[in-house]
Symmetry: none
Subunit: 135 residues, 2 copies
């Protein structure tokens, strides 16, 4: 039920060096080492590694993922902690979407007014529509 690093990497379709990198970053430690120094991983590592990749796909940084993983290992913690992190990531992403939509609007206007019917371009500049003000 244990794996070498190569098998683990293949099982999750991750570069073998990436697995070693995650170890340096304390995200995924091998269960043990063989006498000759080979890393030995448990089946649990497959789950953990998948966790990392999934969470990355949802926009979490390795540091944030480490925190989530550490959290999941603390028996005294509850779902509220995890949920709060998910919640704040949701807000982060929602903000981005809103900003992107503002940018879309600016660009649409730019494209709309563009066909050169005497409209000065400055009237629909991206800067002007997307960002005039203070943030």
């Amino acid at each position: 039920m244990s794996l070498t690093i190569g098998k683990l990497a293949a099982a999750v379709s991750v570069n073998i060096d990436t697995v070693r990198y995650y170890e340096r970053k304390q995200l995924l430690m091998p269960q043990s080492r063989t006498a000759s120094g080979y890393r030995v991983y448990s089946q649990d590592s497959v789950k953990r590694l998948r966790f990392v990749r999934k969470a990355q796909g949802l926009g979490f940084s390795l540091q944030e993922i480490k925190e989530l993983l550490d959290l999941s290992q603390m028996p005294e913690k509850d779902c509220g902690d995890v949920r709060a992190r998910a919640q704040s990531k949701i807000i982060e992403i929602e903000d981005k979407v809103a900003d992107l939509q503002a940018m879309l609007e600016a660009l649409s206007k730019l494209a709309e007014y563009c066909p050169g019917e005497g409209r000065p371009l400055e009237e629909c500049s991206i800067l002007k529509h997307f960002y005039e003000g203070n943030g």
Copy 2:
């Protein structure tokens, strides 16, 4: 109405070296230089610099931001070209929005089923999702 590099940087809460870096990257050129070589910026640079920071937060690379900024600066003769570029940026951004919305949906679903405060981590749908299954 003109600013030194230090004032500009302070106005947008950006490191002064970052402003110089953006100049090397052709994103933000000073209006002129004083006789002694000091950069002179216009009020417009503040907007432009803010735009850069905002767009970065949305996941655009400096190269992409340069392209966006160049769009709003293009002379009218290139109108067809401007329109085409705007159009392709629109598609890029729409893709980005779609990606973020997929993330949002996944995260929201996870958070929704998470029992939250006071419940043990074993019941956390978020961790469970990351840990289990095969994706």
